[in-house]
């Protein structure tokens, strides 16, 4: 199992969709943390607490982008555990994964 604490390991200020948008974008988080962890581990826990907040562009690109990258939705949901005090974030991420279309990247 691998634990990813966004605020501590990535940034307290996650924001933006693409790498060119800014320093801590959803695409960068997916590329640097999420995708490698999901490839290597059976269980990936992402702790969202501690960051300033999460815009929809960041979350969609980080998590929905996994589907477009080729990860199967079932596999993502099986391996990924989201921890967040704000429970709506989990629902939002689930929605992005469910709605993402494979092969869009």
């Amino acid at each position: 199992m691998i634990m990813i604490n966004v605020a501590q390991q990535f940034s307290r200020y996650p924001a933006g969709r693409f790498v060119q948008d800014g320093p801590y974008s959803g695409e960068y988080f997916r590329t640097k943390f999420l995708a490698p962890a999901l490839k290597a581990e059976e269980k990936v826990v992402v702790d969202l607490d501690g960051a300033r907040g999460y815009g929809s562009s960041f979350l969609e690109e980080a998590f929905g982008g996994l589907v477009r990258l080729g990860f199967l939705k079932d596999v993502i949901k099986k391996k990924l555990e989201i921890r967040a005090t704000n429970s709506s974030l989990k629902l939002e991420i689930d929605e992005y994964i469910d709605n993402a279309v494979p092969g869009g990247l």
């Binding site: 200020y13 924001a15 933006g16 801590y24 907040g53 960041f58 704000n86 709605n99 279309v101």
Partner: protein, 377 residues
């Protein structure tokens, strides 16, 4: 399945000329299937042309350069407006003044004395738009135009201009020091990227004064606004008659006043009404079918569909998140001004929209949130 043919690109100069070599033309023009890329290009081009036609028919037909030409402006002095604000009573005079400033500095590159002596009131949204416009003009002329200033008679206005750095930009040395409570808490931020850290530059001071969950929503709304700037706002040139180098800039203010927190965010891009038809064809088609093509209607539909102008369905939550910041918070409000349109949502009231004759030539988002509402969720 429908087939689309690109006759225009295949045969030029009428029947008989063909790109393909060594083929007889006796059987008439050749036609070929459009490539996917070409189809997207033609579709996009037709939508741009269509929206420009619609807007020309709705608003004045003169392009911005001709509008600027028609504004009378003599002497070396630009007299700043009495009120810097986008409220209906002041909007016309304020935007006309900005257009004159743009004309004399940006187009004519004339020596200018920026005279604030008549200015009596500076609202956050008007001041931010002025600051953004002025800084953009300074960048555009690259120091080739002599610009100086005259201090305001009004002490509060002088403090504000000092606090936000306008006096420094004009090279005015003064003994004025911002001391009033409603001035010293004005914070400004500027960026060309999506930088969450900038949120703290203007809003960290309110940690503890507003509920954590509201802070989360504000952070999400503001960073989504930044993301929109980077991905959409500057996709078309700004229709201001200048040929300024494109830079994906945004500006932000926060201000505490009468127990409320005011946050204003703006860009000087093409505006939602111009970019939506290109980036979100399905919404634009609906707008057209309903015959509601005014700027404020377009903003309203964009918000209602949580649209951020993109061809991909998965990119479409930004504007919705910007508006959702105030939902559930008593006495809170949000305004989205883009070009000639304004969309307004207030707690407990139906959303409304208005279209004006004059354009802010960009997009400005204004949130007003009561500070006492720590329990807001």
């Amino acid at each position: 399945m429908s087939l689309v043919f690109d006759i225009a690109s295949t045969c030029r100069g009428g029947v008989g000329f063909c790109r393909r070599k060594h083929e007889s033309h006796t059987k008439g023009p050749h036609i070929k299937l459009l490539s996917h890329k070409r189809k997207i290009y033609l579709d996009r081009r037709s939508r741009v042309q269509h929206v420009e036609r619609c807007h020309r028919s709705i608003y004045r037909s003169k392009p911005e350069a001709q509008y600027l030409e028609s504004l009378s402006d003599r002497g070396d002095t630009w007299t700043a407006p009495k009120i810097f604000s986008l409220v209906p009573a002041a909007r016309g005079a304020f935007l006309r003044s900005l257009a004159i400033l743009r004309k004399r500095i940006g187009l004519q590159r004339r020596k200018t004395i920026v005279d604030f002596s008549q200015t009596e009131k500076m609202s956050a949204e008007g001041t931010l738009l002025f600051l953004a416009e002025f800084k953009r003009l300074l960048r555009h002329v690259k120091g080739e135009v002599e610009i100086t200033g005259v201090l305001p008679h009004n002490n509060k206005v002088a403090q504000v201009l000092c606090q936000i750095g306008v006096l420094e930009l004009l090279g005015i040395t003064t003994s004025i020091v911002p001391v009033d409570d409603d001035v010293v808490n004005w914070k400004t931020a500027y960026g060309t990227q999506v930088e969450g850290k900038k949120y703290d530059d203007i809003l960290q001071a309110y940690d503890g004064d507003i509920a954590d969950l509201l802070q989360d929503k504000l952070y999400a709304g503001i960073t989504e606004a930044m993301t929109n700037v980077l991905n959409h706002a500057y996709d078309l040139p700004r229709a201001d008659g200048l040929d300024a180098a494109p830079l994906k800039e945004w500006w932000m203010f926060s201000q505490q006043q009468h127990g409320k927190l005011v946050i204003v965010f703006c860009d000087l891009g093409a505006g939602i009404p111009r970019t939506l038809p290109i980036k979100r064809a399905s919404v634009w088609r609906r707008v057209l079918s309903l015959g509601k093509t005014s700027d404020s209607d377009v903003i309203r539909y964009a918000v209602e569909d949580s649209v951020t102008r993109t061809m991909k369905d998965y990119r479409g939550k930004g504007l919705g998140q910007i508006v959702r910041v105030i939902r559930g918070i008593e006495d809170a409000e949000v305004h989205i001004c883009s070009n000639r349109g304004v969309f307004t949502e207030r707690h407990g009231a139906r959303a409304s929209n208005s279209t004006y004759n004059d354009s802010i030539l960009g997009t400005l988002i204004f949130w007003r949130i009561p500070l006492h509402d720590k329990e807001a969720t």
